[in-house]
Each structure stands twice: as C-alpha cells, then as structure tokens.
C-alpha cells in the first residue's frame, strides 16, 4: 500500500504525525483517502505539500486555542507544555523546506542540463514555421531614359581653292585638271558617335551619418543649413584630393562639419561609372544639417 502511495503518501504520513495527537490519526486517514482520489503525480504531490502546510496551521491554531483555554487557570506552565509540539514541528518544517529546496535544485538542474527537454517538448508543441506568401506587388519599373542620340552632320565649308596648274613638262601636254572643291570623303549620318552611359557618384554604403558630424554648438543654437561639397573620388570611392565647399551653408560651423563629414566618408563614396565601370571623377553633392523635433 505504501509503495502505491509513493512519495506523496509518505509526505502525508509524516505531516499527519506533526499534527496534534488527537487529530493525527484522523487527519492521516482522511488525507490518504483524499490522496487516493487524486490522479497524476503532480496533483498528488501538491496535495501532500498542502497537507504539510495544513499540519503546520492546524498545530499552530490548536496550540493557541489550548493555551487560550487553559492559561487563566494553570498559568505559564501549560504554555510550555503545549509549546513543545511546535518545537518538535520545527524539524519537520525544516525537512519540508529542505524537500522544497531539493525540488527546486532538481528542476534547475534539469533545465540546466537539458534533461527537461523531452518533457518540455511534450508540454510545449514544436513551433511550426509556415512561410507566408509574399503580397503581390505591382511594381512597374521606371521607364528607361530614351537615348538622346542625334545624327551629327559634318559641316564642311566649301571654300574656293585657288588652282595653280603645274608647269608643263616637255613631251607632255598639259592635261586640264578639274578643280576639286572640298574633301570628297563621304559622311554617313546613320552612324552617330558613341556616347558612354555615365552615372554620377555620391555617398555610398557605409557613409557616415550626418547627425554624427552635426556641430554641437550649432545644434544647441538650432542652426540649420545645406552646404555643397565637391569631392574628387577614385574608382574605389576614396578621396583623391581635399574636399572643397563650393556653396556655403551660411554658417561656418556647419561648413566645418560638412568638410569633416566629407573627409570621413573617404572609402565610402560611390564612384562615377561609365558603362558600369567605375572611373575617377569629381562631383558635388549637398550635405544638409537639420534639427530634428526630438532634439537631434
């Protein structure tokens, strides 16, 4: 029978022994009967732990009631007599506390070492990732720029050429030579000169943020402005010359911040490309300093 009751039954028996003697036997039988109706180890353990606590409360109330009933007649000696069971309960309480602590240690150890993983996999179903279809986007690519090729006709000024006939040699009659007017090379307007597709550079990936170079005093004073900076950049996005301010923002400190930002961005510039091939070039771009509403 005891084996069938297990740990919960043992706990209840121990708890009932800590109850007042008149109630101990009754409580043990009553609690074991209630334990028999519990299904599941956890529910049985909860009942057993609850009975341990109930024993403590019952013993405390029984002791207090007995003391209150007899104190007026027998004095403090009775209090000592009834205080003993409470002292003996201390060891059981200590055992209960140690059991609870041990249970915590077991649980923490199980979590730390992964022993609880099979249990958790049963309690918590595995997360199933269902890929959601992308929302349909109707994105029309921007129209390609129409080539602005124009047939350049080579204009040649037809100027009269003075003709000086060569001196007639002996034995040869002078042959009349028709004067040639202008070059006779044909000009084909159907083959326009090739124009390289050039795309200008600018700040590229990893370029420093403007906020990091906002001068503190200008920010404090709420000064804003836009400075235009010219930079010369090689094929790898690095500065090949010192940047220059081509159009001031109107505030010296903001121009200074723009210069620092332009220098700090060396290596992060997007070079100009010709037919997709990066080339060295110089170009201008604008750096704006604006105070945000949140203070930056």
């Amino acid at each position: 029978m005891n084996k069938k009751r297990g740990l919960a039954g043992w706990l209840i028996q121990q708890a009932a022994r800590g109850a007042p003697p008149l109630l101990a036997e009754r409580l043990e039988e009553e609690w074991l009967a209630d334990l028999a109706e519990r299904q599941g180890t956890l529910a049985r353990l909860r009942l057993a732990v609850g009975c341990c606590w109930a024993t403590r409360v019952i013993a405390h109330e029984h002791c207090a009631a007995s003391v209150a009933a007899t104190a007026t007649t027998t004095g403090s000696k009775t209090m000592i007599a009834y205080a003993r069971p409470d002292v003996s309960l201390f060891s059981r309480r200590t055992i209960s506390v140690l059991l609870i602590l041990g249970l915590h240690v077991v649980i923490i150890y199980a979590f730390a070492t992964g022993l609880a993983r099979p249990l958790l996999s049963k309690l918590i179903p595995p997360i199933i990732v269902v890929p959601m279809p992308d929302p349909e986007r109707h994105w029309d690519p921007p129209p390609l720029p129409q080539p602005t090729l124009s047939a350049n006709k080579l204009q040649v000024d037809r100027e009269p050429v003075d003709y000086f006939p060569p001196p007639a040699r002996e034995g040869l009659e002078a042959q009349p030579v028709l004067p040639q007017v202008g070059p006779t090379l044909p000009v084909s307007p159907e083959l326009p000169p090739r124009v390289a597709h050039r795309e200008g550079g600018g700040p590229g990936k990893g370029f420093p943020h403007t906020d990091d170079f906002y001068p503190a005093n200008a920010l404090r004073l709420g000064q804003e402005g836009v400075a235009t900076v010219q930079v010369c950049v090689d094929e790898k996005g690095r500065l090949t010359a010192m940047p220059t301010i081509t159009q001031s923002s109107g505030t010296a400190s903001l121009d200074d911040g723009a210069m620092k930002l332009a220098k700090a961005g060396s290596g992060h510039y997007r070079p100009t490309t010709e037919d997709g091939r990066p080339v060295s070039s110089c170009y201008e771009y604008r750096i704006g300093f604006h105070v945000r509403k949140d203070g930056r």
Binding site: L23, E29, E30, L32, A33, D34, L47, C52, A54, E61
Partner: protein, 101 residues
C-alpha cells in the same frame, strides 16, 4: 453536536468553502469534493474545515463503507449543521453573493 456555534474568522477562502456546502446543504462532502468545488489548495482547505467543525458549523463522520470492498480508504464526510447553515446564510446575506462572482 448540540453545542453553541462560535464565531469564525471569515475569509474569502472560508466563503468559498461555505458556498460549496450551500449548493446543497444536505449533502455530505469529503475534503476532495470541497476542493473540486471551491478550488482552494489543500493547505488552506483542511484548516478551514477543522476550524468550522470545531466552531460547530460542521459535523463530520467516517464514510460507512468497507475499504476492502470499494478498494479505497474510507473518507471523512462533512456536513453543515442547522446552526452552521443559519450562520453561513447570515454571513452571505451580510456580504452579498456578489463577492464570489
């Protein structure tokens, strides 16, 4: 019991226990039954049952079954006394049933 019912400290848990008995005052309930109906933890329930019994609101007796034939231990059954029923009704009348809603 024939003794005078004493006052009991009425807590929310005590009200829940009384409510479980007041559903049918003539029923006898074991501790497990009361726990199912009231949802109170066993550590709180059994002291309340003993407190109400010692105050004369409840009486209890052992179930009259043969443990060997039913295959389980006999249970302790609690029942409201007439005086306990009156006191419990007074308590609920003073508090109002709404407190347990």
């Amino acid at each position: 019991m024939g003794k005078q019912e004493r006052d009991v400290r009425i807590s929310l848990q005590t009200l829940r226990v009384l409510e479980a008995f007041l559903e049918n005052p003539l029923n006898e309930l074991a501790g497990a039954d009361v726990q199912k109906r009231s949802g109170i933890a066993s550590g709180t329930l059994y002291p309340i049952l003993l407190r109400l019994e010692s105050a004369g609101w409840f009486v209890s007796r052992w179930e009259t079954v043969d443990p060997a034939s039913v295959g389980r231990p006999r249970r302790r059954l609690y029942r409201l006394t007439p005086g306990g029923l009156t006191r419990a009704s007074e308590v609920f009348a003073s508090f109002g049933r709404g407190v347990l809603a």
